[in-house]
Amino acid sequence: MFKKLATSAAVLFAANTALAEVEIQFWHAMGGALGETVNEIAGQFNNAQSDYKLVPVFKGSYEETMTAGISAFRAGEAPHIIQIFDAGAATIINAPGAARSVEDVMASAGLDFDRTDYISGVRSFYADADGKMIGMPFNSSTPVLYYNKAHLNAAGVQPPATWEEFEAIANSLKDNGHIALAQSHTPWIFFENFHSRHNLQLADAQNGFDGLPTEIMYNNDALAMHLGKVKAWKDAGYYGYFGQSWDDNQDAFVKEEVSMWLGSSGSFGGLKQSADFDFGTTFLPYWESVNENAGNTFIGGAALFAMSGHSSEEEAGIATFFDFLTQPETQYFWHRETGYVPVTNAAYELAKTEGYYAENPDAEVGVQQLSLPGGEWSKGYRLGFYVQTREVIYREMDKLMAGDTTPERALSEIEKAANQNLARFARTVQ
């Protein structure tokens, strides 16, 4: 009798473990419509298999999500997957034992992973010095130029490919009562991507990929020239500066105060809903005088990291989700819903064969720009305490636009603060 009971208990127990789904916590920073799309992908994943249950949790902004992950890690309660943005990459990749490389996670779960499946602009940003991918690229975007077709037609001009061309057409737009240009993210567009587009180095140690950098290279003539020009454009009424907020600058474009706007390729979906006019999309302009063969830009956005300290069963769950996420169908769905670029070549091909770009040529501009031939310095950057450095860049831009500083003084302030941040960060890493 007793033996019988014990066996049935054991059978029950076994059945229970087989039935219980392993829960995978996924902390992300995708609010609003983006968050709904994340939930939809989680739902698709949970329906597609029964071993794991993915639980997406919205944690606020990128910074807040990273801080939440850090506190949870310190308390020994880290989520399985966390979304970390470009400026925070150094924080997680340099911390030994905070995250497991996506390649290792996939390998130990016995799932295929080939880094060459990923489109070139995406592959390197979250990889280590040897090209081994640490983070799984998730929402990838890049800065592009949006333009109001009616405004440009009325002025009889074409969207500019270079800043030289921009200077030539800005006045015609002004004559029609429009501010020619605005942009929504000074550090990302005018600093980081200014360097990748023109193939300029931005920090020592291979932009921070090859060890801990100690020296930022923002204080250069090309950037000083560019910032001087931007200030001159503002004074001439060609450039509208609406502060640091992303939305205030985007709204100026949506309300047709401004004819052209530098935003994210991921802004496409939102613009389609909010703008009552026909707009077009093109590459981020460059200075022909700085580099006539301008190349690809960095990816912006964020990547997913598998946090360490979880059982092998849970890690297998993480790997299974990553595998699902990178399926061409999932990527194509994400690309279509959000405007973020597809991260794999296969997904990009799928979007092409489905005829998505024939109907929406604007949606392809981001991928094309990321796939431009790149130079040595367009793979990415990895800088410590870079969130604070970006804060200083924003601050100095405010001052420059208000006429309280010069491009040279602003750049030397930024250089000083950034180097201090780099040195301080380097000491925390042991």
């Binding site: 890690f73 924080t91 609406f242 502060g243 804060e391 042991q430």
Partner: protein, 294 residues
Amino acid sequence: MTAQKQKLPHGITPYLFILPQLVIIAVFFFWPAAQAVHMSFMLEDPWGLASQFVGFENYALLFSDSSYGRSFIFTLVFSFLVSLISLALALLLAVKANSVLRAQKSYRVLLTWVYAVAPAVAGLGAYFIFNRQIGVLSQAFNDMGWAFNPETDPFDASFMLILVAVWKQVPVNFIFFLAGLQSIPKSLQEAAQIDCQSDSKRFFTITFPLLAPTSFFLLVINLTYAFFETFGLIDTLTQGRPAGATTTLVYKVYQDGFLGADLGSSSAQSVILMILVLVLTAIQFRFIERRVHY
């Protein structure tokens, strides 16, 4: 006969009664404060994997940072203005509401209910009112010929913050002032009315001195409010912008610690803040309370 001091025999029972309170204070105040002091002398990586003792380096960095100095000055000016304006306005409103004969209750309710609005909600409301595309007040200022740009002009941003912070704080002060006014004996007021015709003179010689305890209490409360509780407003309205001009000390602690993951610097800042508030409170009790007669 000399008065014998009566000594009550007691064991541990009284201590048991205050124990819960002591535990709460220890867990929620002393322990975190001690933690902050400890962290302020350390340089630690965000994940808590490695940390080293760096002495006063975190403090030295702050004092050599000009943006920290600016934030310090802004905090003092901002707190002073918010406290002064909201106290003055509330006093005026309380005196007037106290002497209104009709619909006194409606006035009181209308002047009080803003108190129920959470700072973050007030900030969001203000965000829409001051938004440059759809904001009503923003539009009004521009129509009056003031190119109002809180997103790029430090003065406009500070003005906006002070306006909203005062609006949010007036009701609290109003309630206390009103209660204070009503506790002034009627007979005293009537006697004063016979001796003195001038309303304002009566106010400054009789009413205001009698309100001094209330005013002093409110001053302490208001400065603390302006220092700490305006965080929600700043976070929803300006995020310390433009050019860091509206970054209060508390907001900077948040920026460096929570957004930037630099715990050492952030802890040093909160220790400085702690000392500053202690000093301010001590000054208030030492110099102002002396002049207050209860």
